[in-house]
């Protein structure tokens, strides 16, 4: 958290940095990245592969309770140039057994839907903070699995919580241990 704000400060001081290609996104990101790091859920951390680029980062979720407890799950988040008219692109790079995340890493979260028919989709009033908390909630709340991405996992969850739990743990042990 401290390093991020220090970095933001440094960025502002260096006025000889090249003109950004996406000035709106970058201006929003300076504020939103700071807000996100300040309001991060306890089980989450954020890592920037290139510290001069706030538009690409990895969110790491380490649930301390629930089905996925003990796992380390990585989400690669790409805030494209059209932000905040479009949501960030999110890919889960850790293989896991989850009704809303496919085994290839696609994430089904209403917030991240660009064209939404209801009020739950993306809207420019959303912030990175909402995205982080939305992803975090995939591991804490199990509210509804209509239209799941992993149909088999959703069916299993409906029919046998025990089997579901075993399969989740099997995946955690094989793919999600640090």
């Amino acid at each position: 958290m401290i390093t991020l704000s220090q970095r933001l400060k440094r960025r502002n001081e260096n006025d000889n940095t090249p003109v950004p290609r996406a000035p709106i996104r970058d201006r929003l990101l300076v504020k939103e990245a700071q807000e996100m790091s300040q309001l991060l859920p306890a089980s989450c951390s954020v890592h920037y592969p290139n510290e001069n680029d706030l538009s690409k980062f990895t969110l790491i979720v380490q649930p301390t309770e629930g089905y996925w407890e003990g796992g380390t799950f990585r989400f690669d988040i790409n805030v494209t140039e059209e932000y905040n008219m479009v949501p960030p692109i999110v890919k889960c790079s850790t293989k896991l057994w989850h009704p809303n995340i496919s085994e290839s890493g696609d994430v089904c979260l209403s917030l991240l839907r660009r064209h939404s028919v209801d009020s739950m989709g993306w809207s420019p009033i959303r912030r990175l903070n909402d995205v982080v908390w939305g992803l975090h909630a995939l591991f804490t709340d199990l509210l509804n699995f209509e239209d799941p991405l992993n149909v088999e996992a959703a069916d299993q969850f409906r029919h046998s919580k025990e089997e579901f739990k075993l399969k989740v743990m099997e995946y955690v042990t094989s793919y999600a241990k640090e």
């Binding site: 003109v19 000035p23 709106i24 201006r27 929003l28 504020k31 807000e35 309001l39 905040n84 008219m85 479009v86 009704p99 809303n100 089904c108 979260l109 209403s110 917030l111 660009r114 064209h115 939404s116 009020s119 739950m120 989709g121 809207s123 420019p124 009033i125 912030r127 903070n129 909402d130 908390w133 939305g134 909630a137 995939l138 709340d141 509210l143 509804n144 699995f145 209509e146 239209d147 799941p148």
Partner: protein, 115 residues
């Protein structure tokens, strides 16, 4: 599809900044100029899309006017039938992909435009 229903906490966080700012502004205004109170709501409304006050130029126009020296761009405010206001620049970009007010989700139709 995973739909988060219990969003109250997050939304509180989300608006925390804006509300604090508003409270601060309302307080100082009241202190030094009670006459200006009637127009406070309009004057201090923040565009929820670019998070700049609607009475100032939007983030996009600000970024552009920094580059060219042709002076300030005419960045106007638009009010919807729902009474929510945004920069016209910001809203016209958004309605291209979703013709609803981002704040109340009502179908967007312009009530008036101006400064």
């Amino acid at each position: 599809m995973f739909t988060k229903v219990a969003m109250a906490d997050e939304n509180d966080n989300e608006r925390m900044d804006g509300d604090n700012q508003k409270l601060e502004k309302m307080f100082t205004l009241k202190k030094w100029n009670a006459v200006a109170m009637w127009s406070w709501d309009v004057e201090c409304d923040t565009c929820a899309i670019c998070r700049v006050q609607v009475m100032d130029a939007c983030l996009r126009c600000q970024a552009e006017s920094k580059k060219d020296s042709y002076g300030k761009q005419d960045c106007v405010v638009v009010w919807g039938e729902c009474n929510h206001s945004f920069h016209y620049c910001c809203m016209s970009l958004w309605v291209k992909q979703n013709n609803r007010c981002p704040l109340c989700q009502q179908e967007w139709s312009i009530q008036r435009m101006g400064k």
